[in-house]
């Protein structure tokens, strides 16, 4: 009689090799290639010329100073919101929290355009209000301070989420014990809550710092006109002025970014060590302090902040998009939807960019889902020793700034692929592969949390019913993780659709994405068209966030990133 092979665990034999191959192609191979080129060119002495270039050190300095001040701004904004919304009896918390998350999900190039539309002598909004500074006065955002401020706005939510998670994880009895010991609300806050939540704040600051270092959209729009180059924009400009040493230079530069990021991530991992996010599910109810007469003041402050960092820039963006041309005052007489008509009906470039971005994002979101459902299943069910290593490797490409990954894929695919001899460089496929690598972790996380929540006996019952792996996957596992898979698709789609950093380096004629198009339109002076396109992007972002928000109740905890 036949005796089927060893099948004690529930995974088919091909699953482990499959997962290893995926991780190898999406994480190890590109990053390994980058590291190899960087180290090789450093050894050949090619880096010495680059490293002796004062422009490089100026750029490192600008990167660090903008990121540092950006981090401070993010900590002030995000920390303040987290404390007020988590610990005090503010009304409308859910709405405030949701609105506070929006700036993070809006692509940085759009944020930058919106803020430009709000300030400076050419602001359509300020002109309409008669508040615009005289012509010829400088645009105040084209500066280190301007870049840092927008970094802060863009990344405040990261600090908010991290600190909030820390606050929600606080053991409630610690607060109650302090209260019973006779401490006043203020003393409890000062002596118990703040010290205990410091790791969350520090971790949030570290992530915000890493995110600032890797940001491309903001310094590209605000910095380049003022001659300020951060490391990502320096890579971009070196790549644009292509020369014989470009590959060596950009690999060293992205190596620098990677090192700075890894330092930041190590700080984060260190301060968070031993903190288990899974315990949050049960606590989640911190003792709420009463603000009394201060409540109105605090609420006013919160709404004013939301108005300044979100509503105003978006109003300015809409105003810019309705103005007939950059610098023309907006009034009932001049208002026009010409820019929208231009994008929607006339320009072939916009249609191509829409098609590219939508198809890339859909392909990434659904393609990745197939991969991540299998990988997630493996990570949760397997008892292999490599699970820890594999999940770490899956995280790295997303944790690193997109520009580093883009450079890695340029190096990997600059020459035709060995054996098959096809070159995907310059085609849309290289962007797709880079998206797969970059957003793998985004897609994986909801799926993994869904599998974690799944009672293993549901699958075991199906096995005893006689269902093989494929059958179980289709009949049992996929339907049960479907809500999380849906969230994963929306999240990846949302992020990929608005992405600029990766495609900025990888696009070529005919493969530009929405992000690239907005940047190029602004760069070529079509500010109102860029603004109109940005308005559409913002509407899309908000719509998808609302969908996720509505789904949130049916999803495992931690799937919707702005919900804690």
């Amino acid at each position: 009689m036949t005796r089927p092979q060893k099948q004690g665990n529930s995974q088919p034999r091909w699953l482990f090799p499959f997962v290893v191959t995926v991780i190898f192609c999406l994480s190890v191979l590109p990053l390994g290639r980058l590291a190899a080129t960087g180290i090789m060119s450093a050894l050949r002495g090619g880096a010495s010329e680059l490293l002796s270039d004062p422009g490089l050190w100026r750029s490192v300095y600008d990167t660090l100073s903008t990121s540092f001040f950006g981090m401070i701004a993010a900590v002030v904004l995000g920390g303040g919101f987290a404390l007020l919304l988590t610990l005090f009896d503010i009304r409308g918390k859910a709405l405030l929290g949701f609105l506070f998350m929006l700036p993070t999900m809006i692509p940085p190039q759009v944020t930058a355009l919106a803020w430009i539309g709000m300030t400076g002598p050419s602001s359509a909004l300020l002109k309409a209000l008669g508040l615009a500074p005289p012509l010829g006065s400088p645009q105040p955002l084209y500066s280190i301070g301007g870049i840092a401020l927008l970094y802060g706005v863009q990344n405040a939510a990261l600090v908010y989420l991290s600190l909030r998670a820390g606050l929600l994880a606080l053991p409630r009895d610690a607060v109650e014990a302090a209260r019973l010991s006779g401490a006043s609300s203020f003393q409890v806050l000062k002596d118990v809550i703040l010290p205990l939540s410091l790791p969350g704040l520090a971790a949030g600051a570290a992530i915000a710092f890493v995110s600032c270092i890797g940001n491309f959209g903001i310094p590209a729009i605000l910095g380049i006109p003022a001659g300020i180059y951060t490391l990502p924009t320096l890579i971009y400009s070196k790549f644009a002025a292509f020369g014989p040493r470009t590959f060596a230079d950009i690999s060293v530069l992205s190596g620098l970014i990677a090192i700075l990021s890894v330092i930041g991530l190590m700080v984060e991992a260190r301060v968070l060590r031993g903190r288990d996010y899974r315990v949050i599910g049960l606590s989640g109810q911190v003792a709420v302090f009463r603000l009394g007469t201060w409540r109105r003041f605090a609420e006013l402050l919160l709404w004013l902040t939301i108005f300044l960092i979100l509503a105003m820039p978006l109003i300015a963006l809409v105003a810019s998009s309705l103005a007939p041309a950059y610098g023309v005052p907006l009034s009932p007489a001049t208002v026009t939807i010409k820019a929208y008509e231009e994008i929607l009906y006339r320009q072939a470039a916009t249609r191509i960019a829409f098609t590219n971005s939508l198809s890339l994002s859909l392909a990434t979101a659904f393609g990745l889902l197939v991969v991540t459902v299998l990988t997630g299943y493996f990570l949760v069910r397997s008892k292999s020793r490599f699970v820890g290593l594999i999940s770490a490797l899956a995280e790295i490409p997303y944790a690193l700034p997109g520009i580093v990954l883009a450079v890695a894929f340029i190096l990997l695919f600059a020459a035709p692929i060995p054996v098959i001899g096809i070159s995907i460089y310059g085609t849309i496929w290289i962007i797709l592969v880079a998206y797969f690598s970059s957003f793998f972790a985004v897609s994986l996380k909801p799926v993994v949390s869904a599998f974690r929540q799944l009672d293993p006996s549901l699958e075991e019952a199906a096995r005893l019913s006689g269902a093989g792996f494929a059958r179980r996957l289709v009949d049992i596992l996929v339907p049960l993780v479907a809500p999380a898979a849906g969230a994963s698709v929306i999240l990846v789609f949302l992020i990929a659709c608005n992405e600029l950093t990766v495609s900025a380096l990888l696009w070529s004629a005919g493969t530009q994405t929405l992000g690239v198009l907005i940047y190029n339109l602004d760069d070529s002076g079509s500010f109102n068209i860029a603004a109109a396109l940005s308005v559409l992007v913002v509407i899309m972002v908000i719509a998808m966030m609302v969908v996720l928000e509505l789904m949130a109740k049916r999803l495992p905890k931690g799937v919707v990133p702005w919900r804690s």
């Binding site: 009689m1 005796r3 089927p4 092979q5 060893k6 099948q7 004690g8 529930s10 008892k383 009672d455 006996s457 549901l458 075991e460 019952a461 199906a462 096995r463 005893l464 019913s465 006689g466 269902a467 093989g468 059958r471 009949d475 049992i476 339907p479 049960l480």
Partner: protein, 342 residues
């Protein structure tokens, strides 16, 4: 169908530590109903999971008749074992209706159309759930979910049905009803059943055979009557019934069952023999006008009677029942009608 044989079965987990299951040999006759009884962590669930195929033995083998299901080198996957299981958490698929849940094993086996519908109807009728066919598991009570899980086992006529503490999540009233359902199910299907539990009364009431496990080892396998009347060793004696174990020297050599006259000798005897473990059940302890002196340690009113804990003069504790109220500290005379050397 055939008998299920566990042959020197052992399981050590990779995480190290002592073996979860250690050298367990056991034969379940065809159509038998075996209860695996033991305290939590004794390895009984691991044995069950090895029989189901979710764990591979580290040593030994599992056979169903002539067919080797698993040994340390190879195993038949659970999909191909033709077994069914009722899980502690019921493991009903929340996205399927009751009918779909029960019909799923048939669907996987390629049974479709009217034949499947009829079998599902029969299975649901057997557990009296015909009226709930279109509900979702979420809309059912605990006992109803349990019965759906049972119907799912019934539907494919499996060789072996495994039950993993199926009553642990139910309240006392439902338990009795479900015990009845399980007995009916066993009688009707004739399947070999293995039932894991830590509750001795459940095991006694349901099974045709009881296997007692502790710390990964099999201590005794016998019919419920046999295991109650003739338990082997202190652990089994302690697990089955509410008896107290006395440590007294016995001058009777290999004799195991003692009546009152023998017990008098044992209690009186300054003996040379090493002390033996002697199990005394409370119903065999009578309060009499004359007999062995004992002091009341505690009294618990149970409604129909008082449950007493008594101390013998040498300090060893005994259990007894009394119809009359007694007080802590009272001195009584007792007669031990029967006792069993473990």
């Amino acid at each position: 169908m055939a008998k299920l044989i566990l042959n020197r079965l052992s399981k050590t987990f990779d995480t190290g530590g002592r073996a979860a299951v250690n050298d367990v040999s056991l034969t379940v006759r065809e159509g038998g109903f075996l209860a695996l009884l033991g305290p939590s962590g004794c390895g009984k669930t691991t044995v069950l999971r090895m029989i189901a195929g979710f764990e591979q033995p580290s040593d030994g083998s599992i056979l169903l008749g002539e067919r080797v299901l698993a040994d340390a080198a190879e195993m038949v996957s659970p999909e191909h074992r033709n077994m069914a299981m009722v899980f502690q958490s019921y493991a009903l698929w929340p996205h399927m209706s009751v009918t779909e849940n029960v019909g799923y094993p048939l669907k996987v086996r390629g049974v479709s159309g009217e034949k499947r519908a009829r079998k599902v109807r029969e299975a649901l009728a057997a557990v009296r759930l015909d009226a709930y066919a279109d509900r979702r598991p979420a809309d059912l009570s605990g006992g109803q979910r349990q019965r759906v899980a049972l119907a799912r086992c019934l539907v494919t006529e499996p060789d072996v049905v495994l039950l993993d503490e199926p009553l642990a999540n139910l309240d006392r009233h439902l338990r009795q009803e479900m015990e009845e359902t399980f007995r009916e199910f066993h009688a009707r299907s004739g399947a070999t059943m293995i039932y894991v539990t830590h509750d001795q009364s459940e095991a006694m009431a349901l099974a045709t055979d009881v296997a007692v496990m502790s710390e990964g080892r099999l201590l005794q396998v016998a019919t419920p009557e046999e295991i109650y009347a003739r338990p082997e060793g202190r652990l089994v004696g302690g697990l089955v019934g509410q008896g107290a174990t006395l440590s007294l020297p016995s001058p009777f050599g290999d004799r195991r069952l003692f009546d009152w006259s023998a017990m008098q000798e044992i209690l009186a005897g300054p003996a040379q023999e090493p002390p033996a473990d002697i199990l005394v059940r409370p119903q065999d302890v009578e309060i009499a006008a004359e007999g062995q002196a004992a002091t009341v340690l505690s009294v618990l009113f149970e409604g129909e009677r008082y449950a007493l804990r008594l101390a013998l003069p040498d300090g060893q504790a005994l259990r007894a029942f009394s119809r009359q109220p007694v007080k802590v500290g009272d001195r009584l005379s007792i007669v031990i009608r029967a006792a069993w050397r473990l």
